[in-house]
Amino acid sequence: MNSIEAEAGRLKALGESEPRLARDPVNEPMINNWVEALGDRNPAYPKFAPPAMVQVWTMYGLNGVRDADDPLGAMSKVLDAAGFTSVVATNCEQTYHRYLRPGEQLAVTTRLSDVVGPKRTALGEGWFVTTVSTWYVDDEPVAEMMFRVLKFRPPEPSGSVLRPLVNQDTEFFWQGTAKRELRIQRCPDCRRLRHPPGPFCPVCGSATPEYVLASGRGSIFSYVVHHHPPIPGKRLPVVIALVELEEGVRMLGELPDVPPDEVWIGQEVVVDWSRVDSELTLPVWRARHD
């Protein structure tokens, strides 16, 4: 913690970063695009620029690189190194001193205002980092912004994933996942597919099951969002989906990348792989967008 506070103190003492010039001057085409996108019909535009556009003029652009002396970037690196790797914006307040007009050339500077922590939050333990940016036209400050983020340590999953018990009847499945193959047991005689597998075919009694490779595509038959209690090796909440594969069998797996409120029964998914270690790879589901 000391090193975080010391580094925060050092960055604060540096004061404002070097002014960074906007890529283009304030201009009518950009104002027109912006007010059109927002549906703002104020007749004052584009003769003046909407004040809320102030941040637009000094954006880095798609391929921009953050300035080396940007204090938020520098402070984030310090917190990342200490394990506070996740970020969420919590506050943003802008103050406008006057309207800007097309043709004016802006520059922005940023200083580190405050670093407060460590605090326990619903998201996890973290530090609130506050910066203040000032926009200038020449030497005249025209707008300011207080911007606060929470840099937090994502809660560690407790323990490690519970490992499957594997025997002769089921090892083909787990050997498959290690090779990123989703294998479904098939009866060589009556061709019935079956999951979970077992040593016999329950339909015809065949004792020599084979397997086929699944396409990995299916749809969500049902799902849960697990909040409590902890699950070894899982970060909560976690979505677990029961997927009906297009071959007809059902299989459970985590759906790691879809926010819980965006999951639905019938949603199309495809298998992906979560490598736990050299011994174990688990199938997981990804939403399909094709």
Binding site: L162, R163, H195, V225, P230, L252
Partner: protein, 395 residues
């Protein structure tokens, strides 16, 4: 369906019930709880340890029959048996006892279940031991635990989500089961939630455990023990209390059956194992759903109470939500359910406390008195069991 005439109905009765207090921290060993409950049940039946020649419990119970027999000073046992599959065992312990009595293998059989389920090993947590059991159950668990589905609430939530999707049931529909249970528990001095009813709003605002289940969809976790004394209907007539005659007793396991994760059947809307139990209960007793005055339906999680009402024929598939919303499961309704408060309200003793409540209904001593016949079910989502008990007048 295969129906076999059973010679069991009417042969045996529950003559004694006993329990410890229900708590969150008993402060004593599980063996002590078991023996206290058995002693209380024997005293209630007007019998002594030397009358007992049979003991039945759950496979999951940590108190061996011989340890219980030693502490009680039972000199001789001719029958001892255990039933598998967690709470699904509850009514089957009584079936075992009734079969032993009906066949003359034993004369007085005590069924018991005792645990420190709250202060000791909690079933609501992820069980690494269950996931690694060196048995076929452990292999079965490998299709769910490593994938992150690892608690009973999560297992049931998977069914509940599908049930909601197909039938349009809502969280409120589940919540009404909890509200009714807590209302019944509120007037039961032995209930953990005595004097603590809840509203549907309380249910809706309780935190998520596993969506779509709120905290108040989940039963409590409890320390305690319950014991039941089973003897012949004939002998029971001479004992202090009116006997609760076992009019039907059944076990059931369905097609492609798993423990809590039977997700590979055609649909996830029913509990085929409970239908198998119900079909036998109706066939054995000669009763129909319309004859049942009150029911004790296993309520570890609210959604399966709806499914049980449907599988047992109290209403049609998908209709339980209307049945419940109309007040049917509350006092004065068509079928008051869990008049002791259930496991949501009284205590979670793996279903055994519900059988004791059925006996009180037959005796006329329930806090929410309705009367018989009473239908009781055991754990849901697992191979399960059920009973119908009646007064001595019906055979």
């Amino acid at each position: 369906m295969k129906t076999t005439m059973s010679t069991l109905p009417g042969k045996a009765a529950i003559a004694g019930i006993g329990a410890t207090e229900f708590s969150k921290r008993s402060g004593r060993t599980e063996l002590r709880l078991a023996v206290e409950a058995v002693r209380a049940a024997l005293a209630d039946a007007g019998l002594t340890a030397s009358d007992v020649d049979g003991l039945v419990t759950f496979t999951m119970d940590t108190n061996s029959e011989i340890a219980v027999a030693r502490e009680l000073g039972i000199p001789r046992l001719s029958f001892f048996s255990r039933i598998n599959f967690g709470g699904g065992a509850a009514c089957a312990t009584v079936q075992q006892a009734a079969m032993a009595v009906a066949t003359g293998i034993a004369e007085v059989v005590v069924c018991y279940r005792a645990f420190n389920e709250r202060s000791g090993h909690r079933f609501g947590r992820v069980s690494a031991a269950a996931a690694a059991a060196p048995t076929s159950n452990g292999i079965d668990a490998s299709w769910s635990y490593p994938m992150g589905l690892g608690t009973p609430a999560a297992d049931v939530a998977m069914f509940a989500r599908r049930y909601q999707h197909v039938y349009g049931a809502t969280s409120e529909d589940f919540g009404r089961v909890a509200v009714a249970g807590r209302r019944h528990a509120a007037v039961n001095p032995n209930a953990w939630f005595h004097g603590k009813p809840i509203t549907l709003e309380d249910h809706q605002t309780s935190r998520w455990v596993v969506e779509p289940l709120h905290l108040l969809d989940c039963c409590q976790e409890s320390d305690g023990g319950v014991a039941l004394v089973v003897t012949s209907a004939q002998r029971a007539k001479d004992l202090p209390h009116p006997p609760a005659v076992i009019a039907a007793a059944a076990q059931g396991s369905g097609p492609d059956q798993f423990v809590m994760t039977s997700y590979y059947r055609d649909d996830l809307l029913g509990l085929p194992e409970m239908r198998i139990v119900g079909d036998q209960l109706w066939a054995q007793s000669g009763l129909r759903p319309g004859d049942i005055a009150t029911a004790v339906l296993y309520d570890h999680f609210t959604p399966f109470v709806l499914v049980q009402l449907e599988e047992l024929g109290f209403c049609g598939p998908g209709e339980a939500r209307e049945f419940i919303a109309g007040g049917a499961i509350e006092m004065g309704g068509r079928l008051p359910v869990n008049t002791h408060g259930g496991q949501l309200g009284e205590a979670y003793i793996h279903g055994m406390n519900g059988i004791a409540e059925a006996v009180r209904q037959i005796r006329g001593t329930s806090c929410n008195q309705v009367g018989g016949p009473v239908l009781v079910t055991a754990g849901t989502g697992v191979p399960t069991s059920g009973l119908i008990v009646t007064g001595p007048g019906i055979d």
